[in-house]
Symmetry: C2
Subunit: 430 residues, 2 copies
């Protein structure tokens, strides 16, 4: 008999149905037992009257069930399944479950949940996070494809250090010292110049920063885009504003059920204010007597500013613009109208940065000079620089951390909750 998913069951089904899933809960009474079946789509209350079978059932065993539906106004779905046959497909061979997953919530630390990821994810509310995440990548692709972007895949093993120095993971490549890419930055720029004009990549990025925080991972998925023939960084912010709006809109429909399970209401996205960093620092000083570090705003400042923007503009999002050159990578386009500043921006959502972006230098000589100024040697950037000899158009782009935006949209406390199998300073398993 063809398998039916729990979510596709209808009370009027009067033929036997066949189901697959895991034993989510068992409650034994004198004459019968309630058995809750869980499949990827939901939970179903079932009635088992055969005591002999019941004896062989354990929580989390996977089973095949055949039975008939019968009305029961007190059952969660208004009906339940009277079990005719049940057979075990995958045996439960544990001594004790690491923690119960059929209660209101998991009574275990996040670390323990991550240690036993294949157990914690069995809860629908845990898997719902990744439904939302999947739809974030889906709308990212759909929106950009609609804007004429091409999806690319670029190598993560690279022969030179791209950005930063010590924060890279080293890899032995047939005896050569190589590094894991911190971002597809160079390659995505090169692909703009290679004639694709507009590209995006959804791929892994590696940061060997030796810290464990609630908002960082050492291996994460970066949603990257790069766009040629722009006027300036305003084009990028226009694009991202449209993207974020499309994202929220898409999630509300495509992941509506998951959002409901998670009890999350997504923000409205109107016009996102664009505030130069220096102005933001002034606001913090004027309104909150809060001093900021040179060329930046610290975590507390971002929070305060977010509150101000929410009050003033009714927006959960704010672009901070015009970061100083000293705080941005060497390829960042200087702003010719603002000495020392660049055509760059961060997107802050509820007080946390979710995007870094900006226009890039596209002139060969200007980029060479910028490499030299930063203390680098142009010959170390040979293959990257070469692309700029052949008419590289004005361009720029941005990157969004997938796990971080998932965490922020869902109001989670820790980025690991939005990561199936996280890698951090202390976590190499599972």
């Amino acid at each position: 008999m063809e398998r039916t998913l729990i979510k596709d069951l209808r009370p009027q089904m009067d033929q036997p149905v066949s189901l697959r899933g895991w034993i989510h809960n068992l409650k034994k009474f004198k004459e019968f037992a309630f058995v809750t079946l869980r499949d990827r789509s939901g939970l179903l209350q079932m009635i088992l009257e055969n005591e002999e079978i019941l004896g062989g059932l354990r929580l989390e065993a996977s089973v095949a069930v055949t039975g008939v539906l019968q009305a029961n106004p007190r059952a969660p779905m208004g009906f339940e399944l009277l079990i005719q046959e049940i057979s075990i497909l995958g045996e439960a061979k544990y001594e004790l479950l690491p923690f119960a997953i059929n209660g209101r919530q998991i009574d275990a630390s996040l670390e323990k949940q991550l240690d036993h990821r294949t157990i914690s994810l069995r809860r629908m509310d845990q898997r719902a996070i990744f439904k939302v995440q999947q739809e974030i990548t889906q709308v990212f692709r759909d929106f950009l494809t609609g804007e004429g972007f091409t999806e690319i895949h670029t190598p993560k093993i690279i022969g030179i250090e791209t950005e930063g120095g010590s924060d890279v993971f080293m890899l032995d490549y047939f005896g050569t010292r190589t590094f894991m890419a911190q971002s597809p930055q160079f390659y995505k720029q090169m692909m703009v110049g290679a004639g694709f004009e507009r590209v995006f990549e959804i791929g892994a990025a590696y940061r060997a920063e030796p810290h464990s925080t609630w908002r960082h991972l050492n291996e994460y998925i970066s949603l990257d885009l790069e766009m040629g023939f722009i006027e300036n960084e305003e084009d990028l912010m226009d694009l991202e504003e449209g993207l974020i709006r499309a994202m929220i809109q898409h999630l509300k429909t495509a992941a509506g059920e998951a959002l409901e399970i998670l009890g999350v209401t997504l923000p409205e996205v109107g016009r996102i204010p664009r505030i130069p960093l220096s102005r933001a620092q002034e606001i913090l000083l004027e309104l909150f007597d809060k001093k900021s570090p040179v060329g930046n705003i610290d975590a507390e400042g971002e929070k305060l500013l977010a509150g101000h923007v929410k009050k003033e503009y009714d927006s959960d999002f704010v672009f901070l613009t015009k970061y100083p050159a000293s705080k941005r990578p060497l390829y960042t386009m200087p702003d010719e109208n603002l000495e020392g500043m660049t055509r760059s921006f961060d997107l802050i959502f509820k007080g946390l940065e979710i995007t870094t972006g900006g226009q890039r230098i596209h002139d060969y000589d200007q980029l060479t000079a910028s490499i030299l100024k930063s203390g680098g040697r142009p010959e170390d950037f040979d293959f990257y620089l070469e692309s700029f000899k052949y008419g590289m158009p004005p361009h720029g782009g941005l990157a969004i951390g997938l796990e971080r935006i998932t965490m922020m949209f869902l109001g989670l406390d820790n980025i690991r909750q939005a990561t199936l199998v996280p890698r951090d300073l202390n976590r190499l398993k599972p």
Copy 2:
């Protein structure tokens, strides 16, 4: 003025239009010049009458152009653009182009083309390959999502060797020896068990095999899927048959233009024959007097068999099934009806393997025994094995190399042609 793409130009446009792109070709005559503009969408013949401007133009500079369309029956599109204004956006600063890209084909070795990837990709026929590739990933996702699969992202840095021994790249992870994943095998199985039931991943895979061949890469994109609650490996072949059919169908429409540029006609996909390996070996011996290695078919044998299948079944595809356990990974499900054989398969397309798949062992004790039998230590597989204690359902999956299937569908000679920026034994740049 809003930019128009070349492909969106219509002869009846009688207002000035604004274009962006690269100088693809220049032909100077006495009173004027033909300038060919190239953007991501196509080529356009333009007429430039201002000699002064012409002097500043070089091949491959990127430009902004304004002008009006005029009919010209001899122009490739039936019309051409009379340039009113042209300005350089990105200067050409090379001494000599590494090779010409505006001829009928590139007159340079593949290696040289890869050395200068941002030049070779400027040709539409090169970029067309990646349009096809993008649509392969698109239909992979769409088809599987339609079948209830969830897209996942799993870590590529792993604390244990998953498959094989010496063929892994080693990574220093904060002082700990780790490895780059050869496949998401363990994680995708775990995610099936974690309640997703059906998962797929499009991600990088790493093989440190020290050889350079026309069909291998050291870093490639793997299209992976894993499916729970299957009966046996036939379910997987059924799924893949549907997937391949959907793929070909989708490519014909979504990448029709790219296929035309590349001069490629995709095969029809009917019922794909399923032939046990041992029977295939017999066929080779009987029909071609061709001996095969134990438990396998060599490259020549695959070619011969493909020819036979084409003649006998009119199919470019064939599933080879029932590989011996000794030739398959330790997690492969033995076939209880065929001593020493497994519930595994390869999909061969025109004589080259494009998929490996099979049912996996789902019982904890059986898997432990298989690890021991293969000479492994169960404690090295602790986090993977743990998942099997909690009612792992019968499951299986398969993997398709993205670059390889792109190469094969397009009839390319070398897998590097289907890779934007390849990594092989000798190639770490660009």
